[in-house]
Amino acid sequence: MSKLKLILKKDNPSLIQPEGKTAGKLPVEAENISPDITAEKTISEIAELTLLAGRKKYKLKDFFKIEGEPSQNIFIDGELDNFKYIGAGMTTGEIFINGSTGMHTGSEMSGGKIEVNGDTGDWLGAEMQGGYIKVNGNTGNYVGSAFRGDKLGMNRGVIYIKGSAGSFLGSRMRRGEIIVSGSCGDMAGAQMVAGSIYLFGKAGKRTGAAMKRGTIISAHQLEMLPTFNYNISYYPEFLKIAFAHLKNEFKIDIPQNMFSGYYHRYTGDNTEIGKGEILIWKEG
């Protein structure tokens, strides 16, 4: 398959060098790095694509060495932790980043796949409409959530984080699945409207705060809010189907012990309509 390769130059215009020494890096807004855009262009057109560093406009070729051919399949190499909006709004194709990325990676995407072989910043897959994001490292706050001022977060799609996640994971999400293998911060699933969150590591405080509907599955005991009710202890059969689907379709590692044992079921948040559920795994 043809591939477009972008290799980050060591010396690029995002570096902040007040007295010759690198002190920091300007944020670079890179929504133009998206399969929808690169597939339609020639290599020389791709080289001319605009990237915004701070308030100054630059060209893609100022930052990257470009190899391969125009394609829906983009491979990026380099530490892009100051690059925002990579793959934002993409509808198809694939981006593989060998390194870390900054904020808003894959936000509002509706199809295709992004894999980050490193960490990402906040707002990963925020308000995504579909597609698949896989992060091999850690990620920041507001994964799959709604942007400030918006009512609904991600609506379809799957986000898989192998490392840990920050706070407000999946807050106000509407649909879709988020899986975190490592730990996550406070307020996971806060104000969620529907969808599923799988927490295989430890979670911070106030999981599911003000959730309306939706399911949070946790492999570890959670500090429950007083606005949740304990219902029952059982093995929810649908989990087997859900786990099989994540395992087979997305190659997600599910801890073996979660296929057996039983689950404590809580419902809440009772300050809202109380139709959300939190399932906490217990040894059988």
Binding site: L26, D186, M187, R206, T227
Partner: protein, 428 residues
């Protein structure tokens, strides 16, 4: 040089968000001779106001005022991602000029609000806030709740002028009001209260959520009969009382906005207050610290549509606390120049953020020396607002007040310095 002394009535004290407007000041020979009605904090601040005054400086050397201003313009116009920060202790006029400047140089603009009451503002955007002026609360409120706020120490005249001890039209004195305090420790304000609820640190959210359920007649879950360190039965009694009062008010401070949970804490409080309006009237007022931090949000919202953490790198305003807020921009080392207006981030921001300011060109506009002027490349002096400069400031309940100057100052005010820098950049 010996003139008659002159007395100024109804001067506004700008040293905290309460903005007491009944200060009486006697002036002789351009010096304050006597101050009346001011609290202890205010008295001290007035005494120090004319000391430790800055002079124009570039890299530690004293220069002419205009030179410092043009050096600032040069730094900002050559910057690719500048930050304009502070704003809470200056006038609305200077804040307005700062927004204009930010637009001209594609800057990020943020106020100290993002590290004090900003979370409350985020919450307000989620649910809205039922509020009132301090005058209304003073005249009518029969239940006052102080949550994570300690006005006795932080806003000393607040109790006497607007709340606990004030003489209102319908609520005449202390006996006509029930005072409730939620705090992690027994503060001097708590000692004045009828009921003090000691909150287990960082569990404000749980308590507020539980109260929401209790108000709607349902019982929250608790294994040991306590929520956030407070007995459930006591919370239940309080919920019943809250439903019965005619006019309740909640004053909240940084104990609520900055404890674990941040904006969700205030969100929970605002949701509770909203629900309580089904029974009687209930309002909320933030206990703002700096003199015009409320104004910084108002001015910014009226100019850009957003209250703080605004970015202009695409020539239109974008808003995202965490992305465009000063602390985060500095911690992630994403800005290449900083313009600090009337604030001291080297003292108030986390160490790493302050440390980064040393590495990039930094301009400080402030009437007084502080830790940030020490590390600044350019220092621009200004007249002290409310003393040597006039302008508009907003009280914590969003009431605008007009400052009057009563002393002559050797430097122009903040607003003219900021506008001048803007003009220089535009004519560049």
């Amino acid at each position: 040089m010996n003139e008659e002394s002159k007395t100024y009535q109804n001067i506004i004290c700008t040293f905290c968000g309460a903005l007491c407007d009944d200060i009486e000041i006697k002036v002789k020979n351009n010096k304050i001779e006597n101050i009346k009605n001011a609290c202890a904090i205010s008295r001290k601040k007035y005494e120090h106001a004319q000391k430790d005054r800055t002079v124009p400086q570039i890299k530690g050397k004293e220069v002419k005022y205009n030179k410092a201003v043009s050096a600032a313009a040069e730094i900002l116009s050559s910057s690719r991602n500048p930050l304009i920060y502070g704003l809470s202790s200056t006038t609305a006029e200077a804040q307005k000029a700062a927004v204009e400047l930010a637009e001209k140089c594609g800057a990020n603009i943020d106020s100290t609000s993002s590290v004090c009451h900003g979370p409350g503002t985020l919450a307000k955007q989620l649910v809205g806030m039922v509020s009132a002026t301090l005058g209304e609360v003073k005249n009518r409120s029969d239940m006052m709740i102080f949550w994570g706020a300690n006005p006795v120490e932080a806003h000393p005249n607040h109790a006497k002028r607007y709340s606990i001890l004030s003489q209102g039209m319908y609520r005449k004195n202390r006996k006509d009001r029930e005072i409730i305090v939620f705090d992690v420790r027994k503060t001097p304000t708590a000692k004045l209260a009828d009921h003090f609820f000691q909150v287990k640190p960082n569990s404000d959210f749980e308590i507020l959520m539980a109260l929401q359920m209790l108000v709607s007649g349902r019982t929250p879950t608790s294994e040991d009969g306590r929520i956030g360190g407070i007995e459930l039965v006591k919370l239940k009694d309080l919920a019943e009382k809250m439903k019965k009062v005619k006019y309740g008010s909640v004053f909240y401070g940084m104990g609520l906005t900055m404890s674990r949970g941040k904006y969700m804490n205030t969100w929970a409080a605002m949701s509770l207050v909203r629900n309580l309006n089904d029974y009687g009237r209930f309002v909320m007022i933030p206990m703002r610290g700096h003199g015009n931090v409320a104004g910084s949000e108002i001015t910014m919202a009226w100019q850009t549509g957003y209250p703080f953490a605004v970015n202009f790198s695409r020539n239109y305003p974008r808003y995202n606390p965490g992305e465009f807020s000063a602390v985060d921009l500095l911690a992630r080392r994403e800005v290449d120049a900083a313009f600090i207006i009337a604030s001291d981030p080297a003292a108030s921001l986390p160490h790493e953020a302050a440390e980064y300011l040393k590495k990039i060109p930094t301009i400080v506009l402030d009437p007084h020396w502080n830790l940030t002027t020490e590390i600044a490349d350019v220092v621009i002096p200004s007249a002290v607002k409310g003393i040597g400069a006039s302008g508009t400031v907003y009280r914590m309940d969003h009431v605008p007040l007009q400052l009057r100057k009563f002393l002559d100052d050797s430097w122009p005010d903040d607003a003219s310095a900021v506008s001048r820098i803007g003009e220089l950049i535009e004519n560049d």
